[in-house]
Assembly symmetry: C2
Homo-oligomer: 281 residues x 2
C-alpha cells in the first residue's frame, strides 16, 4: 500500500490520518475537504502530505469521511473514475440506504461499507486525535460484496490501526445504532435545550451543574451539520427508539404525578443490568 | 475543632471523611451507618477512627450523609440531644422540605443546610474518593438562620476542604437542581431502560455502544435507594422539568415524523450555547 486519499478532513478523517501516519509512516496521505479552512488546518497540523483541489480517484484506498447524506453520490462518482486496484471505504454512521443505493452498481466490489464506533462531540481537524480509533470496533456491512483482494488490503490497514472488526447486516446495524447512539444524541440535545430554555438568563447553572449533567449533555455539543443527516437517513429506526424512550419517560411522569414512588423505585431498579451490559463499573 | 461525626458512610460520607483526614489530620473522626457492612468497610478503609453503634450527638460538627427522606427526622432527633457547641450539617440533594420541616425548631440555629455539588454514579464506602470534593461548589441555604459562631466553624472546615461556597434560597435550589441534576438522572435512567428493554438478549450492544452512549447513561448506574427519595422530595419541580423535556422530545419526534429535517436541524442548532454555559470545550 503506497497511498491513501481521505475525503472529509474533520474529526474522523483527521483521526484516521494521524493513526495511519503512526502505524504506516511510509504511506503517502492526500486529503480533500470542501471547506478551505479545514484543508489548510489539515496541512498545518500535518495530517496529510498534500491537499487536493478536488476529490481524487487515484489511490490504493479512498476513505470517505463526510456527512452521511453526501456519501451515495460521492461514492458513485468515484466508482466511475477509479481504476481496478482502488478500494473505496466509507466511514458513515448509517449503512442501509448507502448499501441499498450502491447494491446494483457494476463496481460494487470496489466498495467497502464501514463504520468505526468512535468519536467525540467535537468537530473539525483540530478535534482529530491519533488514538481515537485505537482498540475501537469497526463494523463492516455486506462484506461478501467486496472483492476479496481489495478487502485484504483494507483489513491490513484496519489491523495496523488496531481496530476490532465486526460484521453485520446494514439494517441490523442501523436498528442497533438508533438505540445505542442516535437516541443518546437526541436525548442529550433535548436535555440541553430544556435547560437552556429555562435558564438562558441565569448564571447559576454554571455553578450548579455537576459532573453528572456535564456527562449527560456532552453529546449535545455535537454538530447539527453531521447529526441531522444521520437522523434523516435512519429516520424509521430512530423514530421507533425515540417513541419507546418517550413512552418510558411518560411512565415515569405518570408514577410521579400519582406519587407512586414504589413504582418510580422499580422503574429505576430495572435499569441496574446496564452496569453489566456496558461491562464497566 | 477536635472531632467530627459522620452519619451515613457511603460515597459522600466517606469522601468527606477522606478529605477531612487529609486537610485536618488531627481531627478525630467517628461514623455511623445502619448498614453493618458499610460500617466495617469504613473502618477497614480507614475512613474513620471509630464506628459508633448509634448516631452520636457529641461532636463539634455532625455531618448527615444519608438519603434525603431520612434527614428531617434524623436532624430533629439529633437537635434534641446536642449540646450548645455542636453544629449539624446536612449534605442532601434537596433543601426546601428539610428547611421547612426545621424552620420553627427551637435549635434551628444549630443546623446548617448544605449541598455539595459532587458525586459519582457509584455508591458505598468503596466509592468514596479523597478528591471528590476538591474545588467543588457547596451550596448553603438559609445561611442567616444558622448561629454565627457555629457557622464560622463550618466555614473553616469547608475552606480546608477547598469547597466553593454559594448561598441560595431553598426553593430556588430545588428548582435549579431539578433541571441540572434530577432531570439528567431521569433522562439517563430511562435511556438505559429503553435500550435494555429492546436488547436484553443481545450481545451486540456491548460492541456497538460507543463512548457517547456510555457517557449519556453513566448516571443510570446510580442507586435507586438514593434517587427515589430525591425525586419524591422534589416532585413538583422535577415534574415541571420532566414535562418540559418530554415536550421537546415530542417536538423532535413530530419534525422527524413529518420529515421536516430543516426543523430538526434548527432544534439541534439551538442547543449550541450549552458549550459556553458549561464553560467547557
Amino acid at each position: 500500500m503506497n497511498n491513501i486519499h481521505i475525503i472529509g478532513m474533520g474529526l474522523m478523517g483527521g483521526s484516521f490520518a494521524l493513526a495511519i501516519r503512526k502505524a504506516f509512516p511510509n504511506i503517502r496521505l492526500t486529503g480533500f475537504d470542501k471547506n478551505q479552512q479545514h484543508m489548510e488546518e489539515s496541512l498545518y497540523l500535518g495530517h496529510i502530505d498534500e491537499a487536493s483541489e478536488t476529490p481524487q480517484a487515484e489511490a490504493d484506498i479512498i476513505l470517505l469521511a463526510t456527512p452521511v447524506d453526501t456519501l451515495p453520490d460521492l461514492a458513485k462518482n468515484l466508482l466511475e473514475k477509479i481504476g481496478p486496484t482502488t478500494l473505496i471505504v466509507d466511514l458513515g454512521s448509517t449503512k442501509a440506504s448507502l448499501c441499498q443505493s450502491l447494491s446494483s452498481h457494476p463496481k460494487r466490489a470496489q466498495f467497502l461499507a464501514g463504520h468505526p464506533i468512535a468519536g467525540t462531540e467535537n468537530a473539525g481537524p483540530r478535534a482529530a486525535k491519533e488514538d481515537l480509533l485505537n482498540g475501537k470496533v469497526f463494523i463492516i456491512c455486506e462484506m461478501e460484496k467486496t472483492d476479496l483482494q481489495l478487502k485484504g488490503k483494507a483489513y491490513e490497514l484496519f489491523e495496523g490501526l488496531n481496530l476490532k472488526l465486526r460484521f453485520m447486516d446494514p439494517d441490523d446495524h442501523d436498528l442497533h445504532l438508533a438505540y445505542v447512539s442516535h437516541l443518546s444524541h437526541i436525548s442529550s440535545f433535548m436535555l440541553g435545550k430544556t435547560v437552556i430554555d429555562k435558564m438562558k438568563d441565569e448564571r447559576h447553572i454554571l455553578d450548579m451543574a455537576g459532573s453528572g449533567f456535564a456527562s449527560t449533555v456532552r453529546l449535545a455539543k455535537s454538530s447539527p451539520e453531521m447529526w441531522t443527516p444521520i437522523l434523516q437517513e435512519n429516520r424509521e429506526h430512530v423514530l421507533e427508539a425515540l417513541g419507546s424512550y418517550i413512552a418510558r419517560l411518560q411512565e415515569m411522569e405518570k408514577s410521579m404525578r400519582e406519587s407512586d414512588f414504589e413504582a418510580v423505585f422499580q422503574q429505576i431498579k430495572a435499569v441496574a443490568p446496564i452496569r453489566e451490559l456496558l461491562n464497566q463499573d
